[in-house]
Amino acid sequence: MKYFRIIWKNCMRNKRRTILTILSVGFSLFLVTFLRTLMVEFSRTNETPTAVRRIAVHRSTSLQEDMPEAYRKRIETVQDVEQVVGMDWFGGIYKEPKNFFANFAVEHEDFFDVFPEVRLDTAVKQAFFAQRSAAFCGVKLAERFGWKVGDKVTLLGTIYPADLEFILVGFYTSAVDERTFYFRRDYMQEALGKPGKVGVFFVLARSLETTPRVIERIDSMFRNTDAETLSETERAFQAGFQTMMGNVQGLVLSIMSVVVFMILLVVGNAMAMSIRERSHEIAIMKSLGFQNESLIGILLSESLLISLMGGIVGCFGAIVLFRTIDMTRLSQGFLQQFQVEPLTLALGFCVALGVGIISGGLPAVHVVRLTVSDGLRRVG
């Protein structure tokens, strides 16, 4: 690295240009980081040991239709089924539609066995079991609306014709999501006049290996009835929601490649300009005995230095930004975690590296190929 001084001096020769280029790369790489994090966010799945054993059973028509409550007893008899819990997506609105959050009616006795990642204090759990109108929610959701234990919360029914009032008995913590609202199914059934219908059964299979068989057994049990079921692993169930959104991956990927191409143009232009201005002195260096390889190396290191600094600005800027601002609140609950993955960071720097090599390499090779006399003759 004996040439470091000259590389640094060259970078600093036109400070304004260097800074503008670094910032331009920075903003673009921020976007690359943002888009890739968005993609990760959309394809995130719950991989806890219990989650991979969970199976969602719902009507094959669509989630809009429901199943008789009696299905539960029949599912329990299926071989390798450990536990069953019935749940309904209530779709309730808290005050206004824009305060959207997920809210479920759950069969309280079995819920915690099937969803052990939802952690609640024993005292809170007892309070939940003791009172019909009890409800609990994730700590982050409580934070969003400033709820405290004992608060009364009313949800307006959109799907079900009932507005329900709940008493909050506590807040759960979880490694997966802390923004969901849970309440007791028996309370909702009572308010609706006991229609005896269930939206989704979550079934815990005895082991990961037995899940395909359990799925097959449940579905064949209800085949040719009025309410046929479709069972799928929780992972497939969630993937179903993601495909509903359409080809988001394709959209994001194509925008990302456009952004990368733009960075290439910006840095390429800046490097071409500064190398052209310097063709005179490169010719002098050549005549002093500098080898082509070391000249290309010097110019290449300069563009690498600039684009990598842009990478630092963009990628680390993204990390800091997503940590400091509450993306969940900003997106009204749409984005849940939104943290930059190490792989995303690596991708950002690979892009910076590639851009540095291509954008510095091409003009460098071009100018170094000029003969000394041609180079000296060049002006401006």
Binding site: S24, F27, F34, S62, E65, T158, A270
Partner: protein
């Protein structure tokens, strides 16, 4: 006196490579902006063109959307005989009881599917929506398990060709025709006979009622009468208003478009600044000469600013051209308020093109101002002396 425009145009051609690269990077920003906004515009237009101003839609109170709603048959009987509803050629009130069933079907070439709306319509349903016309096959017959499918849905989902059968509810349903609904929300639906569908799914009532009011005054009266009737637990909206509210579905894309444009725009601005600074420093002597001849500081400033805007506008135009081929392409995504697939076309409109060009001009002004000021501020003597 102003410096002739020709001077700027010629200068842009002198630095061909640099000009092309800057133009291209601005065009990429504009193209991304155009593509995303065309997507959002297409989605918005689908909804805003769906409702007929004379129609009134009735759904259950606080259901928000048809898919969540239930309207009892007793309520249908009350509303059917309200005054103010237009009568059709057959003397019957123009009112269609409808039921919505979401059906999860796999997309073409994929295992996984999405929810598609199956709408059961009454006999008046077609007259209430004149934008819908059959393009292939025939209408379904009442009392049979038959349905018609929109062309958009048929192009995107399996088992939707004319003659295909699908199992849902209690039996096999046959697709008997394809329709086109002139780029409205109905282009994302399948239609069948309402009574057949209600029986098939054991529904206790309808999902919604659609009716035609006699005139705007009758419409206002009908809506307030329905909303105020204590026997009814329903709400009435003008159909147009109902669909206008669903444009919220495009908000995600609009947010993404804004974010992308801001950040890519800043990046491109810096690139334009680099190019313009280089232009100014290469032409220091020229600037000095022009000042010496008698051009004022203001005309130098203006000249360089014009050059930057010109550069950016060319970029904007190229960006528009790059984005143009996507116009009209059909795509689809989820409408989360109805929890179903909505299909729409990318729509590049004239206001959108104008916005994109204005955006590129703005990028030019921002990127060009500082370099132009530097040019204008140069002292004449020093400028003339520089190499």
């Amino acid at each position: 006196m102003a410096i002739p425009l020709k001077y700027n145009i010629r200068n842009l051609f002198v630095r061909k490579v640099s000009t092309a690269m800057t133009v291209f990077s601005i065009s990429l920003v504009v193209a991304v902006f155009m593509a995303l906004m065309a997507l959002a515009t297409g989605m918005d237009k689908t909804f805003t063109s769906s409702g007929d101003p004379r129609n009134v839609l009735v759904i259950r109170k606080s259901a928000q959307v048809e898919t969540n709603s239930t309207v009892r048959k007793s309520e249908y009987q009350i509303i059917r005989y309200l005054p103010g509803i237009d009568t059709g050629a057959n003397g019957q009130p123009q009112l269609s009881p409808e039921v919505i069933v979401l059906l999860n079907i796999p997309r073409r070439g994929e295992q996984l599917g999405a929810n598609v709306i199956v709408r059961g319509v009454g006999p008046e349903g077609f007259e209430l929506r004149p934008q819908l016309r059959m393009v292939k096959g025939r209408l379904f017959r009442p009392g049979l398990r038959e349905m018609i499918v929109s062309l958009n849905i048929a192009g995107r989902f399996q088992n939707t060709d004319v003659g295909n059968q699908m199992k849902f509810g209690k039996g096999m349903w046959t697709v008997v025709g394809h329709f086109d609904a002139s780029r409205t929300a109905f282009d994302s639906e399948m239609w069948a006979d309402v009574d057949e569908l209600v029986n098939e799914f054991g529904r206790e009532g309808y999902s919604s009622l659609l009716l035609r009011s006699r005139d705007p005054k009758a419409q206002r009266e009908l809506i307030s009468q329905i909303d105020g009737d204590r026997r009814l637990s329903v709400e009435a909206f003008s159909e147009r208003e109902y669909y206008d509210k669903q444009t919220i579905a495009a908000i995600g894309i609009k947010t993404l478009a804004t974010l992308m444009t801001i950040f890519m725009g800043i990046g491109a601005c810096f690139a334009a600044m680099n190019t313009m600074y280089a232009a100014v420093s290469n032409r220091t002597r020229e600037i000095g000469t022009m000042r010496a001849i008698g051009f004022s500081r203001a005309s130098i400033l203006l000249s360089f600013l014009i050059e930057a805007v010109l550069l950016a506008l060319v970029g904007g135009a190229v960006g528009c051209l790059l984005a143009l081929p996507i116009n009209g392409i059909t795509t689809g995504s989820a409408n989360f308020s109805t929890f179903s697939e909505v299909t729409y076309n990318f729509r590049i409109t004239f206001p959108l093109i104008a916005t994109a060009l204005a955006l590129s001009g703005f990028l030019g002004v921002i990127g060009g101002f500082l370099p132009a000021r530097t040019a204008a501020r140069q002292p004449i003597i020093e400028a003339l002396r520089s190499m």
